[in-house]
């Protein structure tokens, strides 16, 4: 996790909030460093994490996690981390003619209906262990990257249904958190992606949006991060708070600074 980002979001591993849906959105840049941040943050906060990793392999997250101070293999062995590696099992699931239900079963179907097997998997992974000992704190569901399901033939509405079910179970019933990543296609006019993104923005408590700089590529400032706090349950209440920072990604850390205050410029 990045200490500076923790300060900006005003959270610490000891004092993690509960029942929140966080949306990570990136437009014209790569926001995957936020996924690594939240993964290491929740592992350090001693939460039980279910990670649906569709876009990269386990070793990728493991190696970056070690740079950030967590060992995913250790967490997996201890039972703290349930890792669904989409890439590794995709080909096998696809070519299996029939067989036991698999969370990625929608790959087999000609026109995928729903993501119910995936939801069952998540629910099974995060349900509290019955033997009474509260080993972990709140459960967390992490999905990287939710927009990929659209490329695999699942409709935007089905994905929103899946998010809704997961929210009901993870955020409300189990008092846990959810973090999902969706790419913003910008001017590519991807309607399904826009439906998904707007639907999620409406439901989320916290939106972290990474964008490129308006002027283009810069070696010292890699992009801009917009943080938006929302209270979806209280429609009137306070105005949503929003902050904008610029960041630079380094080997093991990401440094954040106010707009125009990059150390390279000053």
């Amino acid at each position: 996790m990045f200490p500076e980002l923790n300060n900006l979001l005003n959270i610490t591993p000891d004092r993690a909030e509960q029942g929140k849906l966080t949306l990570l959105c990136d437009a014209k840049t790569d926001g995957s460093f936020l996924v690594h941040h939240f993964l290491s943050f929740y592992l350090k906060a001693n939460c039980k994490v279910c990670f649906v990793a569709l876009i990269q392999s386990f070793s990728h997250y493991n190696i970056v996690g070690q740079k950030l101070g967590v060992s995913l293999t250790l967490a997996r062995e201890r039972g703290q981390l349930v890792f669904l590696e989409g890439l590794k099992s995709s080909a096998d699931v696809f070519f299996q003619a029939h067989g036991e239900p698999h969370p990625l079963q929608f790959l087999r179907e000609a026109s995928p209906g729903n993501l119910q097997p995936l939801f069952e998997f998540v629910r099974e992974a995060l349900k509290p262990v019955d033997n009474g000992e509260a080993a972990w704190r709140c459960p967390v569901l992490l999905v990287d990257d939710l927009g990929l399901l659209l490329s695999l033939g699942v409709g935007a509405v089905a994905v929103l249904d899946f998010v809704h079910y997961c929210r009901a179970t993870v955020c409300w019933e189990l008092k846990g958190n959810m973090v999902v990543l969706v790419h913003d296609s910008g001017d590519a006019e991807d309607e399904e992606n826009d439906i998904l993104l707007h639907g999620l923005s409406h439901q989320s408590h916290l939106i972290l949006r990474t964008e490129g700089l308006a002027t283009g590529f810069c070696r010292d400032v890699h992009g801009q991060l917009r943080i938006l706090w929302r209270r979806p349950s209280q429609p009137t209440a306070q105005r949503d708070r929003s902050l904008t920072y610029q960041y630079k990604i380094q080997d093991k850390n990401v440094s954040f600074f106010a707009k125009g205050m990059s150390p390279a410029v000053l």
């Binding site: 392999s57 590519a188 700089l213 002027t215 590529f217 810069c218 380094q250 080997d251």
Partner: protein
């Protein structure tokens, strides 16, 4: 790229992303050397694979794309287990060249090839590969192994700048593994027949393979894509590239080349209409291919006619599903052909995306304005320079022309940041 030479031997298997690494808990901090414990990375003695080298940034195993200039722009080379997507230029003149360089590099390095095409027979594609440019040292190496072929000496003796003759022909960056990494090719000559015959390759020619009936239901993949996927999976499994076959201890790279993916010849109408009913076929194929590659010692190059795809959303999805994306834009037939800014070059090359593998950052080049030209023998990629404004009376129109062209030089690399204005610094 100033790169310190690290130990080449013993670094191959422990650094690669293939299943060998996923089965054992390999970290980037593992000591490189013979391992006493019996992991299944091929026993106690680690052999580096020919034609590969570990990346300095994260120990990732890299293969050359066939063009040393492109390797440098991609951060050292193409990572094993990833896909290089080439967005074809408008008349498909230069993208087959990059495709062939990739395959030729595989033959020279001794890798196994898998060539898939719906248009040309893979055997014909292999016949047209460019011949390697060999200097004295490497020729001796090759003579010992293969055959005394008479490739004529192409570097003329330098008379004036004779000191430069002593410098190495290409920048020796990185560790020197058992064979050289990245070779130069002569585009005007064909590869010697003997080299093709001694190499191992598999061909997938769609018209021949499509006649056999499908044993599996389509499941929303086009018939052609499904056959290709099964073919690739078979080769990976049977030749042991994914380490799962206990009889086959494969220590080689599989280079996969797929030509014109997405074109109507593959049975996909994504290039023909905007709202096709089978629009997920291509993206699903790319995802399943990515899954196969990540768990095996292979690297893939795909050329795709993205300029034909009507639906921009599909291009965005395809870019997200590929690791490295390079776009070619040739000047032929466009107004840029007569633009004085571009008179020395044949086209622009855009590095649209570079993957961040095992890392938070990637080795992105600062140079965004790159142009390529195909000289008689060599394909070179150079930084585009604005010509100096030397005229005494600068006429308003010419200055405006150049400014217009400069604006069109393309937005910044989509990976790091894109912007509405073009003010990279």
């Amino acid at each position: 790229m100033a790169v310190a030479a690290t130990c080449g031997t013993g670094a191959g298997s422990s650094a690669c992303m293939a299943s060998a690494a996923s089965k054992s808990n390999v970290t980037s901090f593992q000591r490189r050397g013979p391992r006493a414990s019996g992991t299944d990375s091929g026993g106690p003695r680690l052999v580096s694979i020919a034609g590969t080298r570990p990346s300095v940034r994260n120990g990732q195993l890299l293969v050359s794309s066939g063009l040393p200039a492109l390797d440098q722009l991609l951060g050292g080379g193409l990572a094993v287990g990833t896909v290089l997507l080439i967005e074809e230029d408008k008349y498909n003149i230069y993208s087959p060249l990059l495709f062939k360089y990739f395959l030729a590099e595989g033959i020279i390095s001794g890798h196994t090839l898998l060539v898939a095409s719906a248009k040309e027979d893979p055997a014909d594609i292999l016949q047209e590969l460019p011949a390697p440019l060999l200097d004295d040292n490497y020729k001796k190496e090759l003579d010992e192994d293969v055959y005394n072929h008479k490739t004529p000496e192409s570097n003329a003796k330098m008379k004036i700048a004779w000191r430069y003759q002593l410098l190495p022909k290409m920048e020796q960056i990185g560790p020197v593994s058992s064979s050289r990494f990245g070779h130069y090719y002569d585009a005007s000559k064909r590869i010697p027949q003997e080299l093709i015959e001694t190499s191992k390759w598999h061909g997938f020619f769609l018209p021949k393979k499509i006649s056999s009936p499908l044993k599996v239901e389509p499941r929303s993949l086009t018939h052609g894509y499904l056959k290709l996927l099964q073919f690739i999976q078979n080769i990976i499994y049977e030749e042991g590239f994914d380490g799962s076959n206990p009889q086959k201890k494969q220590k080689n790279i599989l280079r996969i080349g797929i030509q014109n993916l997405g074109s109507p010849l593959w049975g996909d109408n994504i290039c023909c209409t905007e709202n096709c009913d089978n629009s997920h076929s291509l993206t699903k194929f790319l995802y399943l291919l990515r899954g196969l590659l990540r768990t095996s010692l292979s690297a893939c190059i795909i050329t795709m006619p993205t300029h034909l795809i009507q639906n921009k959303a599909v291009i965005a999805r395809v870019t997200n599903l590929s690791d490295t994306v390079v776009g070619l834009e040739s000047f032929i037939g466009s107004e840029k052909e007569t633009n004085p800014l571009y008179k020395d070059y044949h086209g622009l090359i855009h590095i649209r995306q570079i993957p961040r593998l095992n890392n938070l950052i990637c080795d992105e080049s600062d140079v965004k304005d790159l142009a390529f030209k195909l000289k008689k023998k060599l394909f070179t990629i150079e930084r585009l320079h604005l010509p100096p404004d030397l005229s005494d009376t600068v006429s308003r129109s010419s200055k405006q022309d150049l400014a217009e062209s400069a604006k069109r030089l393309g937005p910044g690399c989509g990976m790091m940041a894109g912007g509405k204005k073009h003010l990279d610094f």
